[in-house]
């Protein structure tokens, strides 16, 4: 039988190879899944993973999808690195959209505050406020942040639902549950005419680079890495655990809020019940695929964005159900976690012992 034995030192090679092996295994399992669904596996995989590169518009769409994933994935990478499990990025994203919506809908056009930065900052602040709830409960009452942040995701979705069906509803919206369209000043400018690619892409790259610098070059980054890897050592070194929990939750919440604000002010242009908050869960996989490294999260975001666009194409071209995307993402994370264990452990063939 095969046994896992601890390595003397973590394997650098496996740390690099693991995501690639996991993607490969996901492709193989995906081919099997497609065959089971009665599809030609080669054609299905082509649509899923290559068709997003077919033309310039599709390629731009991949980047559009990658922006919120990268913003949230980078924040979560820092969070998870510090061993803080914020899994409510979807809720913080929703609050970000609500905050941006409030600014865009209620600041009059002649006000000096009627500029794009205001809804974006409002969104980031709302995301931070939403993440402050699990931060406060964990640091003051040691309540598990996983459950609180996740519960708040449902609350956020219902809050948005209430706003767009109730007080903020557009009375001339032909019965659709949505707000008025945002005014012109509250639209994120496009980068490339004829596509939906917007300047949020720069923000995503800047955030990832900035967080990478922070994690690798600053004392704060060192503290977070030590706290996550060896909490006892961190306590002996006098690092404040509470301060770090606040920092990473506000950081990841703020970035998720910014992602939600960008989504509302670029792609959607108004508030409605469905604003793509599901990306907050995909971002968890992005963070892991990127080795819990903010720059890696950029790459991870691109990979998952390709599969998201490919999934949409497969829905149209092959009539494959949209849930295939969730199956793929779950498989990818499973394979990734299994491969990651080969960073710390070495598989060895041993003779079976009698118990």
């Amino acid at each position: 039988m095969i046994r896992l034995e601890p390595r003397a030192a973590p394997s650098k090679l496996m740390a690099m190879l693991s995501p690639l092996i996991a993607i490969l295994l996901t492709l193989i399992a995906g081919a099997l899944l497609f065959a089971l669904l009665g599809q030609d596996p080669v054609e299905a995989l082509r649509v899923y993973f290559l068709s997003p590169f077919d033309d310039a518009y599709m390629r731009a769409e991949v980047l559009v999808k990658a922006i919120p994933l990268a913003l949230m994935g980078a924040g979560l990478a820092v969070c998870f690195r510090a061993n803080v499990w914020n899994i409510g990025a979807a809720g913080q994203f929703t609050l970000g959209a609500i905050g941006a919506g409030a600014a865009a809908l209620f600041i009059p056009a002649e006000s000096p505050f009627a500029m794009l930065a205001v809804p974006l900052i409002a969104g980031a602040l709302c995301g931070m406020a939403w993440a402050a709830i699990p931060a406060a409960l964990r640091t003051r009452l040691s309540v598990n942040e996983i459950l609180v942040s996740l519960m708040l995701t449902y609350v956020a979705a219902l809050l948005l639902d209430w706003l767009v069906r109730g007080p903020w509803r557009n009375p001339r919206g032909f019965g659709f549950p949505q707000t008025n369209a945002f005014p012109e000043w509250a639209h994120v400018p496009l980068l490339v005419e004829g596509t939906r690619l917007h300047v949020g892409a720069f923000l995503a790259v800047a955030a990832a680079a900035g967080l990478w610098l922070m994690m690798s070059r600053t004392l704060r980054g060192l503290r977070l890495r030590v706290t996550g890897a060896a909490p006892r050592a961190a306590r002996f070194a006098g690092f404040s655990a509470a301060g770090d929990v606040w920092f990473v939750l506000l950081l990841s919440g703020g970035l998720a809020g910014l992602a939600g604000a960008l989504e509302a002010t670029s792609i959607v242009g108004r508030l409605q019940p469905e604003i793509g908050a599901q990306a907050g869960f995909t971002a968890i996989i992005v963070a892991f695929l990127g080795r819990l490294n903010p720059l890696g999260a950029l790459l991870g975001a691109l990979v998952l964005a390709v599969s998201a666009i490919g999934g949409e194409n497969a829905q149209i071209l092959l009539r494959l159900p949209k849930n295939v995307a969730g199956v793929f993402q779950g498989m990818l994370l499973f394979f990734l976690l299994a491969c990651d264990s080969l960073i710390a452990y070495r598989p060895r063939l041993v003779a079976r012992r009698r118990a």
Partner: protein, 301 residues
């Protein structure tokens, strides 16, 4: 009021199944965050089997089996490969959400007959609140019976002692010759079967139909229940009933003249979970969480 109490007991059943299963897994030292995913796959498999065989019992069995299979996947990654349990559980939830939607896509909105009550109707009419006590289908009583059985197993049985040892101090248990990983594996599988039953109850009896994401966070509420029950069976059962009452508010509150937007009542269970976690945080004695919960254990020899 009798209708409310009866509805509360029905709504508590899926929470009770899932939370009891997770309790057993956590007492063995494994945190499986994939309850929501296991419930969803259990729900859809139960529905498909019940629809094609016409038997609720076959459906419930299929739900338990599906939950067990999902848990095996988690156990392979989290125990076999020593992966981070939180991450593996999240993977299971994401995977289960996708898989259940895929399996159930031809069954959305298809009706299924509700299972009948276990006891004769005359019993329910004989006493006040009889309907709330005797008016339910077999799965409700199965959930109650399993609560008693699990309490007995953990508190009184030899196997329960071994299971708790694996969860409180894996290294010592291993040194004493306990097969820690095997115990944990079995506990996780049991947890999966129970989560599957919880999901099955939702699609077979509670609604009864299949809808994508129909568990609506109940798997997560079950996880929270285990925490604020301090990993004790009796408190899990009490918590499940309390939470079920909150989930039923959205159907009864308007009728009682309590005015608030419907979204507020729908959000109430989630808000109540957070509130309960916060309020009970200080009261919990330090020793109540399994000491090795969520910690990776690899036998050294």
């Amino acid at each position: 009021m009798e209708a409310f109490v009866a509805a509360m007991i029905v709504a508590a059943t899926p929470l009770l199944f899932a939370a009891l299963g997770e309790l057993v897994a956590e007492r063995s030292g494994v945190l499986n965050l994939g309850v929501e995913g296991m419930m969803l796959v259990g729900a859809v498999c139960a529905f498909i089997v019940a629809k094609s065989t016409g038997s609720t019992a076959a459906g419930a069995l299929a739900g338990a089996g599906a939950g067990l299979a999902m848990a095996a996947l988690f156990a392979l990654v989290a125990l076999g490969f020593s992966a981070n349990q939180a991450a593996a559980g999240l993977a299971l939830t994401i995977f289960g959400g996708g898989l259940s939607g895929l399996l159930g896509r031809d069954y959305v909105g298809v009706p299924l007959p509700k299972p009948g009550p276990l006891f004769p109707a005359s019993w329910a009419e004989a006493i006040p609140y009889g309907k709330a006590i005797f008016g339910h289908d077999a799965m409700v009583y199965l959930a109650l019976a399993s609560a008693v059985g699990i309490w007995w197993f953990l508190a009184r049985a030899r196997g329960g002692l071994k299971l708790r040892a694996a969860g409180d101090n894996a290294e010592s248990g291993h040194a004493l010759g306990l097969p820690v990983l095997r115990i944990r594996f079995l506990a996780v599988l049991f947890g999966g079967a129970m989560a599957g039953l919880g999901g099955a109850y939702l699609s077979l009896a509670y609604t009864p139909m299949w809808g994508e994401g129909m568990t609506a966070g109940r798997g997560w509420i079950a996880l929270a229940l285990v925490v604020f029950a301090g990993w004790r069976v009796g408190w899990v059962a009490a918590g499940a009933v309390l939470f079920a009452a909150v989930t039923q508010l959205q159907f009864y509150a308007q009728g009682w003249g309590w005015r608030a937007p419907s979204q507020f009542w729908a959000a109430a269970p989630y808000l109540a979970t957070i509130l309960a976690l916060a309020l009970l945080a200080g009261r919990r004695t330090a020793g109540s969480a399994p000491a090795a919960l969520g910690r990776i254990f690899r036998p050294s020899s």
